[in-house]
Amino acid sequence: MNLFRELFFDYTLRTVALGAGSLGAVSGTLGAFAVLRRQSLLGDAISHAALPGIVLAFLLTGSKNTLVLVLGAAVAGWIGMLFVLSVVRGSRIPSDSALGIVLSVFFGLGLVLLTYTQRLPTASQAGLDTFLFGQAATLLMRDVAVIAGLGAVAVMAVAVFWKEFKLLSFDPEFGATLGVPMRSMEIVLTTVLVVAIVIGLQTVGVVLMSAMVVAPAAAARQWTNRLGRMVLLSALFGAAAGVSGALISASTRNLPTGPTIVLAATVIVALSMAFAPERGLVWAGIRRRRSRRAIQVDAVLEDLFALAQQHEDGTHGHPVAVLEAMSGGRTGVEATLRVLESRRLARRLPDDAWALTPEGLREAEARRSTRSSTA
């Protein structure tokens, strides 16, 4: 609560929240398409490749204006992406190796340029290395303007080309037969992805930005089966991770922003994977246990019935050991018997034998006849 009040009155926190929220929303939006098209790691290559672009932009213009650096980052990211495509198309090098090469070599070049500028007499390079892991605290309102502005363009592109992007992600060949220019659409989508990535580099850093393209989308996928809702949720999750991570980082010492935001996003993904309504692992586990138990109840009931039929007296008791043997030595027979007891379908006799109650007998008969009629 204190944080919220500070949010309104503290310029820095407000700036940070707005900037990080915007970039999170945008990267979430575009990330949905990247993840669906199995291009999760293309984002990693683009963001690492952006580093030399950032440093070169500074070296050439002497300015650390966010727009200039973002432009440099975009150009370098785009070139890196072109390299990946050329290598994959023009040789037998597999795509993952191409991504790895571009990622690490461009990054290495970026580090060379960075360390080179560090040696320059002009000490004004200070701050360029915040692009490695991001530092939300360095955001100014005009930086946020750039982020939000470019981000809005990116999101608008998604809105305008919604049908085309959907076709591109689901069935590009079919889309081509409709006369939609698929190759151009691919270029547009990738360009917008580059924009979504480079606007986040100042806050999240080059090394970790790729997670902001993957995590919100992966989380969103767990909650819905409709593309539109997935994209919206992804934007929401991205913004939430951005804001919470950035605020925590800005108000704590020695906590770089990038990793904090990424951890926030990871928490969101983990919670989604565990608790989302249909796909959530927790619910799936519960469902599995429930069905397993139902099967066991059915089996033990049937076994008791079979035993009962061998005696005149249907309520004759049988020791647990016999039932366990009939179960093929499976464990949990006792627990199942207790469940039957709680449902008044069986009862425990003295000296640890079990028998069906009259109700149990009726139930077992009913189940048998259902089974044979559906067989």
């Binding site: 993840v35 199995r38 291009q39 999760s40 790691l41 984002g43 990693d44 690492h48 290598v87 023009g90 040789s91 037998r92 090098i93 597999p94 993952d96 190796s97 991504l99 790895g100 090469i101 990622l103 690490s104 070599v105 461009f106 990054f107 290495g108 070049l109 970026g110 580090l111 060379v112 960075l114 360390t115 080179y116 040696r119 290395d129 490695l132 892991f133 090394v207 970790l208 790729s210 997670a211 393209v213 993957v214 995590a215 989308a217 992966a218 996928r221 767990q222 020695n254 906590l255 770089p256 990038g258 990793p259 904090t260 990424v262 951890l263 990871t266 993904v269 994977m273 796909r279 692992l281």
Partner: protein, 369 residues
């Protein structure tokens, strides 16, 4: 060259060759991005091990790293197997999370020790000669040389001893399983090697750049040969060259040695990509141009053959017609016709083209094949 410079170069060469050798199999097994993930997450292993032993020189760090490498693969597999996330996204979720934990731990708790967030990415090759191995006061040289040299030997031994197994599990895992080699055991063993190598190299070149040394030289070599042992050899060669040229470029520019090595590795790859004799871009373009002509000539023969003795023969054998139906530009069509005439495949008769016996044979052979 000063002794220190010599030592640095030697260490650089040892590091890059040690990375390139297992890197060959990363490229061939399409595990490049998994190695990207591991080289990021070993940092967490190092940090955790560091918190336990409070020293950066302990061999426990190597074990911590190897364990973290195995943990990474296990986690990625576990995430993928839930069916909720695809393989590429699984990787993209696991390693940033683990890496972030590591960076935060460093920033918060290891601030004034030799482990800071930027160095994590840059490595400290320049300082390596200053940390020496001194058992009992005898100077055996830089520690990094011994550690990395040991890892290089270990990698080499692993590859030599398990060459057959590596080969089969890389190119035909089904066959390997049928023969009784467990591809899974090989997979985990190999990834442990990669993790250990990444940790050893981490000291010299930092986290991300290890990937460059592991992937770029082997990829370049893979464009030059099909034979596994040749690829291994060439990878080592390119790696060593990248190390040497990288060092000198960094010396000239007064910049990060590790970054420079990575860049040079990339440049060598680029050169191979463009200039490799058979598989390079230039060679490919030349070959395709040649083939286009030969192929077009064959198409002409087949086209004439298919329409011989048919009602459309008159029309289909006109040179102008070629432009329309075969979609050839007029100058290209003329060039092909000239070539076909010179090869004695066709002859011109009253503005129409006719097949010679040779041309007919060529068409028949192509169609039968």
């Amino acid at each position: 060259m000063t002794p220190i410079e010599i030592e640095i170069q030697v260490i650089a060469i040892v590091v890059s060759v040690a990375c390139a050798l297992p890197g060959v199999f990363l490229v061939l097994r399409r595990m490049a991005l998994m190695s990207d993930a591991i080289t990021h997450t070993v940092l967490l292993g190092i940090v955790l091990a560091f918190f336990i032993v409070e020293s950066l020189s302990s061999p426990l760090l190597l074990f911590g790293a190897a364990a973290m490498g195995v943990l990474t693969i296990t986690l990625v597999e576990a995430v993928r197997r839930t069916g909720l996330v695809r393989e590429d996204a699984s990787i993209g979720l696991v390693f940033p999370a683990l890496f972030s934990i590591a960076v935060i731990l460093i920033a918060r708790f290891a601030g004034n020790v030799h482990l800071d967030t930027d160095a994590v990415l840059l490595g400290e090759l320049a300082f390596a000669p200053f940390r020496r191995l001194r058992p009992g006061g005898i100077d055996l040289g830089p520690r990094a040389l011994w550690v990395m040299g040991g890892i290089l030997l270990f990698d080499l031994l692993f590859i030599i001893v398990f060459f057959k197994e590596l080969k089969i599990t890389t190119f035909d895992p089904a066959l390997a399983a049928a023969l009784g080699f467990s591809p899974i055991v090989m997979h985990y063993a190999f990834m442990s090697i990669v993790s250990i190598t990444a940790v050893g190299a981490f000291d010299a070149v930092g986290s991300v750049l290890v990937v460059a040394l592991m992937i770029a030289p082997p990829a370049a070599a893979y464009l030059l040969s099909d034979r596994l042992w040749v690829v291994l050899l060439l990878s080592a060669l390119f790696a060593a060259l990248a190390a040497l040229t990288g060092f000198w470029a960094a010396w000239l520019a007064d910049a990060s040695i590790a970054g420079s090595m990575a860049t040079m590795a990339g440049i060598f790859f680029l050169l191979a990509f463009l200039l490799a004799p058979e598989r390079g871009v230039v060679a490919g373009a030349r070959r395709r141009a040649r083939q286009r002509i030969a192929f077009a000539q064959l198409m002409l023969a087949i086209h004439l053959f298919n329409h011989e003795d048919t009602p459309e023969a008159e029309e289909e054998s006109r040179v102008e017609h070629l432009g329309r139906h075969l979609r050839w530009r007029p100058d290209f069509a003329r060039r092909i016709v000239r070539r076909a005439v010179a090869a004695d495949w066709v002859h011109r008769v009253n503005g129409r083209l006719g097949l010679t016996d040779r041309g007919r044979d060529a068409a028949r052979t192509a169609l039968a094949g």
